[in-house]
Symmetry: C2
Subunit: 359 residues, 2 copies
């Protein structure tokens, strides 16, 4: 058992080098590519959360794989309801052959952190429906809310025992998030569990035609996977810096949600994890009309008004998907606290003017 587990983890460590991904995005694309195959005359389908990180919708469109959206429940802090998964897959079966489910945990752009019970329920659902699991866990170090804890799909699935521990799973990790935040270096990997050996051989062959990722990206990823250990010279400093970054992000997560919740017409869920807030905003009907006249979606119209009046850039919710008739935007919690505060003050001033203009 010890040896098998060692080999497994050794293999996991080797994947970053074998997989030659210039970031988790490439890793995700390369595993998604394995699903391009009509079954019983139906094209493949992949379940993704709505709202979702647009990498998924764009890649599925490129690969001609059907997007099977399941809505996250905004009223339960972007909770993932199994009944909604069932609704989505039953509807999708009419037009495609669902082969996989993508779960982003912690959520992007929604910032929720899944409970262990929730993950178990998703695994059971995926097992029943014979779905390959894509666990997008790039924000695993970014957990802020007091009751929240990160559980990896691999850990939960293995601990659930058979038949679940034999399921096919790919987990994705990156050096662009967490406490390192090295977006400018690009390093990522896929850890693949229980993949059918013939498929895995083809996967390895396909990615072997790629060049290796940048040396600095590989080095950065290695530091994240093998951080300094107790007793090593840089352990203390590393811990101090890591904890400092994460503690500050925690404060900022709260500051952002609290500020938005204090603004008229805004409601913002707690940012439990990741690096974003995704508040809902009620737009006055006059603003919606003005947007229509300008040929823009209302949330896009709002974002452009904000940008042009303040220089603040947000991403309209329609880029991520949202329940029709609702409007959101994504903003990061990343600016340093003093800049973040100044930005939020400006934002609030703009919003007041916007409301008085369109009310």
């Amino acid at each position: 058992m010890k040896t098998a587990s060692f080999l497994l983890s050794l293999e996991s460590l080797l994947w970053p080098l074998d997989a030659a991904d210039s970031g988790a995005s490439d890793a995700i694309k390369n595993v998604l590519k394995l699903l391009i195959c009509d079954i019983n005359g139906k094209r493949p389908g992949v379940m993704i959360p709505i709202p979702q990180y647009p990498l998924y919708s764009a890649t599925l469109a490129e690969f001609n794989i059907q997007q099977v959206g399941y809505y996250l429940n905004e009223s339960t802090n972007w909770g993932l309801d199994i009944s909604e998964l069932k609704r989505a897959i039953e509807e999708a079966r009419k037009t495609c052959y669902p082969r996989a489910i993508v779960v982003i945990n912690p959520g992007n752009p929604t910032g929720q952190v899944l409970s262990r019970e929730n993950i178990e329920a998703i695994i059971k659902f995926a097992h029943k429906e014979k779905l390959f699991i894509f666990a997008d866990e790039v924000y695993q170090h970014n957990i802020y809310a007091p009751g929240s804890k990160f559980f990896s799909f691999k850990k939960v699935l293995v601990e659930m025992g058979e038949p679940y521990s034999k399921m096919e799973l790919a987990s994705f990790m990156s050096c662009s998030k967490g406490y390192m935040g090295e977006c400018g270096l690009r390093g990522g990997y896929a850890e693949v569990l229980n993949m059918e050996p013939q498929v895995k051989a083809m996967y390895l062959k396909a990615i072997s035609a790629m060049l290796c990722p940048t040396v600095l990206g590989q080095a950065c990823l290695d530091i994240i996977m093998n951080p300094p250990r107790k007793g090593e010279p840089s352990y203390e400093l590393f811990q101090k810096e890591k904890n400092g970054v994460l503690e500050s992000l925690k404060l900022r997560a709260k500051m952002v949600a609290d500020t938005f919740n204090s603004m008229e017409g805004f409601s913002c869920n707690e940012v439990q994890g990741a690096m974003y807030a995704f508040p809902q905003i009620k737009l006055p009907s006059k603003a919606i009309e003005a947007a229509k006249k300008a040929g823009k979606a209302p949330d896009v119209f709002y974002a452009f008004e904000l940008l042009e009046n303040t220089g603040i850039c947000i991403v309209p919710g329609s880029g991520f998907g949202q329940v029709p008739g609702t409007y959101h935007f994504r903003t990061t919690i990343l600016p340093q606290p003093d800049k973040l505060k100044a930005m939020l003050d400006n934002f609030a001033r703009f919003h007041k003017q916007f409301l008085s203009k369109y009310s």
Copy 2:
């Protein structure tokens, strides 16, 4: 005219950022992707040189585009004969719809540098056959042979005037080669000329779904495209280092070809450019039998024997394609001169032993 040319070059400079490629390989793949489309019930075909850099064969296979190989003429220093292009495209028309031609200049793995006349003839051929031109020009700074000079396809095509100056062309450049050789940073771009506006819009949309390349790769590429100018503080040192690297590579190119040509059973063309020699090797029939017994292609067998006996790693010619019944390998000219000399001495010793073992 001045303004138009300025805009053109400004656009060219902006492409690296727009195109978001983590290297020229990604840029090549993204442009190739535009050709995935059956025409008149036939799948698309792309002409590539044989021998060629395996990125092309692997990508065409992945995209289900037919590889239309045209042989380079080893007896004229890997010359590109128009009659061979005609033979290849006529044969290919029976089974596919040829849409593009890839030219690697300077050649990889073959190291030839195309003359201006040759490029003009290729452009005329591509025009007659309505082919999109892929000009892989990543080795454009690596020209060593006294009579050789680099001409870009863009320059020649534009100077030829209409109708040729209106042809669709993509030229590829990288920071991994030349005098910088920053393979570990990954930066590249596609400069696209005359692309049909609707296709270009779709291309830009497709690559916009990607993240941007690494910051260091972008910075490195900028230095190559905008090197220090006369009068600027680092101009002298930059020139000295650049010329030093290229002069040394020139000596090494000659050293490698000369050494192989002095070895029994070897014949090696002049390395006019790029970073490789691609010598032909006559293998004794006993060695070919031994390879068959070992279940290996003869050139692969030779490469493994070399690796296991000396630690020297070469790439067997079958990875690049070669005229059936001939055997080659690719080796770089990159090690520093003293190491290169030691390597070549070891290689020659091994080869003598190999010949005596299998003769």
